[in-house]
């Protein structure tokens, strides 16, 4: 399974980096733009603040809280020595006591995501010269394992099914929040363990956020991001739908943004920097006179990596010079405000393979219509 392979990768990476003991830390908050060090190292998705103590050539320990989550931790972790703890900092101190006394080299990952009070205490117990291991944990999370790719594929399927459900049930007169709740639970029922979902309707939008109490009506443009997680692997589906018969300007703007998307897709090549994707997309924008719209608040990024095990290759921006590698999964989206149509969402989840970026959806992105608005 993925967690086994990640753990073995981590151990060999620790040896290469001269790290004897690695403390991986995580909270109960699972951000889809972050790497969760404990999930990567053990396969356990935590409820609270937790730590995994890994040894390059020895036994590993998973320290968890709350006490009552012990059985779930044992069932999902590839680290078999699972210990429920009351005070995580004290437990980490005990777990690494002998390593520190023996002068072992200590590495740490995930500290920057921990609550300050706990992070302060943990820092006090670490020996001077400890090594930042966030990069090797991130690389372990990004391993192209069969299970990870299967999870990514399943997450995309769930997102597409959730979106089709949304198109079926949405109708004028429905609150955004009610629609979001229906889709959220539908997606959970399909097997997603989490979902980053944004949904905003408007006659002329300036952004996208979580569903509000606004009632959807005829003539609304509805922008949606559905981002389910399967086994900790998030995948994102950005879409735009219209309530009623869409105006020609909207059709043209969506078609234009699809051109922007394809420019980015074509630019995604293994060995090329991420920045090239954003540059090529911005060039298409500039050719239409929209160069000034290639910055906040008109857009945020041209896509991004998908945590919670790896966020590689990071945000798709002109400033990100990360080199694209085979197996990276991310989303390319020219999410964008355009002066005629407002804020629109176009894009696709992709995987990097030898020939470039392959789109993972079964139905290409287009301007969709709410089924019930046409009845």
């Amino acid at each position: 399974m993925s967690a086994d392979q990640r753990l073995q990768y981590l151990k060999s990476a620790m040896r290469r980096s001269g790290v004897d003991t690695l403390i991986a830390l995580a909270t109960g908050y699972h951000n889809f733009l972050d790497v969760n060090a404990v999930l990567v190292a053990t396969g356990y998705k935590s409820i609270s603040d937790v730590a995994a103590v890994l040894r390059s050539d020895g036994d590993d320990t998973l320290l968890i809280q709350p006490l009552w989550d012990f059985e779930r931790a044992v069932g999902s972790s590839v680290v078999t020595d699972v210990r429920p703890v009351r005070d995580l900092c004290e437990a980490v101190a005990r777990a690494i006591h002998e390593d520190v006394a023996a002068g072992k080299k200590i590495g740490i990952a995930g500290l920057h995501r921990m609550p300050a009070m706990l992070a302060d205490r943990l820092l006090r117990l670490l020996p001077a010269g400890h090594i930042d291991c966030n990069d090797i944990v991130s690389r372990a999370g990004g391993l192209k394992t069969q299970e990870r790719l299967a999870a990514a594929g399943r997450a995309v399927q769930i997102a597409e099914q959730g979106y089709e459900h949304l198109l079926r049930i949405a109708s004028p007169g429905m609150k955004e929040s009610e629609l979001a709740a229906q889709v959220y639970t539908y997606i959970k029922g399909l097997g997603a363990d989490d979902n980053f979902m944004l949904l905003t309707s408007s006659q002329h939008g300036h952004g996208i956020t979580t569903a509000s109490e606004r009632i959807i009506d005829e003539g609304d443009v509805v922008v949606i991001e559905i981002t389910p997680s399967v086994a900790g692997q998030f995948m994102q589906l950005p879409r735009t739908a219209y309530v009623g018969d869409p105006p020609e300007t909207l059709r043209k703007d969506v078609a234009f943004l699809l051109d922007v998307f394809h420019a980015g897709l074509d630019a995604a090549r293994c060995g090329s920097p991420v920045s090239r994707i954003a540059e090529e997309m911005d060039k298409v924008m500039a050719r239409r006179g929209y160069a000034d719209y290639c910055r906040p608040p008109y857009m945020r990024v041209r896509g991004h990596g998908m945590g919670n095990v790896s966020n590689a290759p990071g945000d798709i921006t002109v400033n990100n010079h990360t080199i694209l590698e085979e197996g990276m999964v991310f989303v390319i989206h020219p999410e964008q405000y355009l002066p005629d149509s407002g804020y629109l969402l176009i894009g696709e989840p992709v995987i990097m393979d030898a020939d470039g970026a392959t789109v993972l959806t079964s139905r290409p992105c287009m301007l969709d219509l709410f089924a019930r608005s046409m009845e």
Binding site: N31, W68, E71, A116, Y184, A192, H206, Y337
Partner: protein, 369 residues
Amino acid sequence: MSVLHPVIVSGEHIWDRGRLPIDEFRARASDVIELMRGNQIGGLIIHGNAQQSDLITYLSNYIPRMRWAVALLDMTGALHLYVAGPTRDLHFLEPLTHAAGIKSFETLATDLPQWLATVQASGFGVGLAGYGSMRPDVKAALGRHVSWAALQQLDGGFDSLMARKRPREVRALARCCGQIQSELTDLKSRCGADVRGIPTAILETERRCLTSGGYHVSTLFSVDGGATLVPLVPSGIGTPSASRSAAYLAFRSQGYWAEGMTSIGPSLALDETVVECLDAALAIMTPGNSVKAIYEAIDEVRAGADWHPFTVDPVSQLGLSIRPCGIGDILLSDSIYSLKVGLAKDSVYSFGSAVAKPGLDGAQVMLRL
């Protein structure tokens, strides 16, 4: 109670000006300013994030759905919010709060030095609340402008203030309790004597809570007769293998959290013991009594049954967060507490819960399951 936190909280977040009018927030700010004055503090920096936002929400109504926010409060009561996230979306937050000038967190780098200079020129110190949950990278960003040693931590005073519930807070909590009572009662009736459908039933409970104006809904349930409780994460759920189950529901609306839990399935003798434990605990839920006394009252009637690991901290204070009480805590008259009792005996498990406001004439029960 910690339950799997979602990547983003996607339920309904509004500022209900009817139920929580502006004068409610002014009164709260006035109390906080009094607290600041008493500590020789002229300005307060308040931090909150998606997991722990009670201090910011208490003053502003705003709850970060993801990432974090920092608020600055001065002696005039002016509250300024700095929210992490895309500047593109800041305008969506304006209807959610009365705070003046919602800005991006990045803007704090330019605004904070000037605000600090103004506060310090008044001769007063600067206070900080919500440090405990701050991430080190957020701390580093703030640390470029403030000297941590010079900041006076005000969490203790803030907590005391928030522990005593104002009338509108009691009503908000009562609405949450009503939702939980209704949903868990309905869940029991939908499952009936056959708990094999509990995962589907739990999902339906979540859907109903979200479509009823819930901001955040957290559930746990059991597929092994109550021995363990698990979140609805499909990869971790087995097929229910026992004739009984248990469900836990935490529901947040208008910022306020309540929680409840119950056994599901055919009744057993141990259920009666749980009822007796709850009765005994509620009978002594009076202001000034201790959490330790509640433990002892339950211990006297649990008839040889063991505490279930899920309820080793049976008493929690409810409000803008759910805070488990320590054994030495004293019950307050204006506070609201949840009480969870889980017992285990001979591989049989039973749960019950209540929410109550301690009173001199006995606890005012707001939820009982």
